[in-house]
Chain length 338, copies 2
């Protein structure tokens, strides 16, 4: 009989938490007990998973005495406190925050890219930032056959990356503007409806945002190329779900487009949607609710003989967060890395 | 006494035409007679300019017998037919379409960048594509002191680039979606509200769109660097007015950020908005209705010692179209290139 696990989901009512619960059902994740935790605002709320009703509870230290997997998707402070606490109590923590990601003792894992990094985990595993994961999934297979020299990436990131309140704000601002009223601004420094904000997370002294530095540093760690030249610009766009990225990739040698297509037709987790004459290329609505990273607009870089350009779309709540977290747990179970 | 000119505006009721009429008022453009032409749908419509009422008229060959400047912003077919006709009748045609731009006999002009190209015009002058103009305005001053080696640009382009009907469609689709109804799609191949479309204009065989090839070829012509390596990805975003661009620029030598700031504090038509810690960087709503191209997020490229990255926003209807057209006419008048 298949072993079943005791699970706690921290941030169960958030944008990522809700998708995580959907995926637990969808993938028949082998759980025995399930504890759903959230902030005091949501405590007492009832959530149905696999036909059973669960009551959202407050986080309680005792809870972790009998838990196998703790999925955290809340904020950095909760991840730090609960992550350390739960891992001390021998839970396996799969964390969606940035607090542990660059810690050399913490594997930062995309199962399709670097599953081997899970082998010697010490109780905490980080999942990458939602804009890093699809980037690493595209770079890895190319790098394996034609080492990557340089990457330039510009992102088009949806508001669900910020959370449920930001989706509500995009809706309410859109509604206000359509009705000729000034938009009410609270989630971002500027109006996001019908606007763009080239600013995600705090600014560093070098002029880059933390989101941009996360993409750069996390990609290097996942690909195990500590000095890979990457430049990133991260932009929030008025889209609800799914992040898109425009990639310019310089390889060591020229590559044929047929080779690129051939590589990605075999890669797990990536799907090609690239038939421009039929208006087929990835868009946010195409990928929303989908597991795969979609890639398209694959073409030779006209400015560099060793370069290619392409466009990707990825559901930031699924592969960018909840799905990646679940897949890590599945990988740990199937390899007995418990 | 200042000479005054007879003007015809072809496409007077379109998104660019309306801004052109605003600018004729705003800049006290020295006109004597003013003829407003549009498609039969708009004929008979009354428009007030400088307090005088003008009735929209159908295009009529006779009209051009006594006209000095013809501004065309309609479609390629009208530009071709009317442009050739009016220039034969000794009008100066300032055209917003792509039909004449790459013709070696037609100057392609951004007055702040290459005003000298106007000198020997032969009656038709093209204005660049709305995404090319701000790009050329940023590249030119850098290139003058530190020759540019390579440019990678990703755009975030508003729907007004398509026209009034696309603005209406963004509004109506947003309204439909907010009310739980499926969006009605007619202007683009896909839903644009709360979505992104990495496809502007037709596709070429090389996988690039015509919009991307226009940015590449037009920039080379304006800067007079026929082989400048440029790669472009053009994306339609759910924004009403203003185009943004993320630029990665490789120069011949390293450049200090102070030098970049110094250059652009002196360049006409470009304004720096770059104080991240105060959340100041260009956004579409900041630049809508403004003449200047705004630049910000200026930083060293972390992937190349000779590179910089920056972000720009430009009102595609003003500097990207109507303003640039008017400035060309003003330049022709003040230099007596008539």
């Amino acid at each position: 009989m298949l072993k079943k696990y005791n699970i706690a989901v921290i941030g169960a009512t958030g944008a990522v938490g809700q998708v995580l619960l959907d995926l637990i059902e969808e993938r028949n994740f082998p759980y025995d007990s399930l504890h759903l935790c959230a902030s005091s605002r949501s405590v007492g709320k009832k959530i149905i998973v696999n036909g059973n009703e669960y009551v959202v509870e407050e986080i309680n230290e005792e809870l972790f005495n009998n838990i196998d997997f703790v999925f955290i998707s809340a904020n950095n402070e909760i991840s730090k406190n609960i992550g350390l606490l739960a891992s001390k109590k021998n839970c396996i923590v799969i964390d969606d925050s940035s607090v542990f990601r660059m810690n050399p003792d913490v594997p930062l894992v995309v199962p399709e890219v670097n599953p081997h990094a899970l082998k010697n985990h010490k109780g905490i595993i980080s999942i990458p930032n939602c804009s890093t994961t699809p980037l690493a999934m595209v770079l890895k297979p190319l790098n394996s056959i034609n080492p990557i020299k340089r990457v330039i990436v510009d992102t088009y990131q949806s508001v669900s990356g910020t959370g449920m309140a930001a989706i509500a704000e995009l809706n309410s601002q859109s509604y206000e503007i359509l009705n000729g009223r000034p938009p009410t601004i609270s989630e971002y420094p500027h109006q996001i409806a019908f606007n763009l904000i080239p600013h995600i997370d705090n600014f560093h002294e070098n002029g880059y945002t933390n989101e941009e530095m996360k993409m750069i540093n996390e990609t290097r760690k996942i690909l195990e190329i500590p000095d890979l030249p990457i430049s990133a610009t991260c932009v929030r766009v008025p889209v609800k779900i799914a992040h898109c990225e425009s990639l310019n990739i310089e390889l060591s040698q020229p590559i044929k487009l047929e080779t690129v297509n051939d590589i990605f037709s075999k890669v797990e987790g990536v799907k090609i949607l690239d038939d421009p004459l039929k208006n087929l290329y990835p868009t946010p609505i195409d990928v929303t609710g989908k597991d795969e990273v979609l890639i398209g607009r694959i073409r030779k870089d006209l400015s560099n003989k060793n370069g290619i350009s392409l466009w990707l779309a990825s559901d930031n709540l699924r592969k960018g967060a909840a799905l990646n977290a679940i897949q890590i747990a599945e990988e740990i179970i199937s390899n007995n890395y418990l």
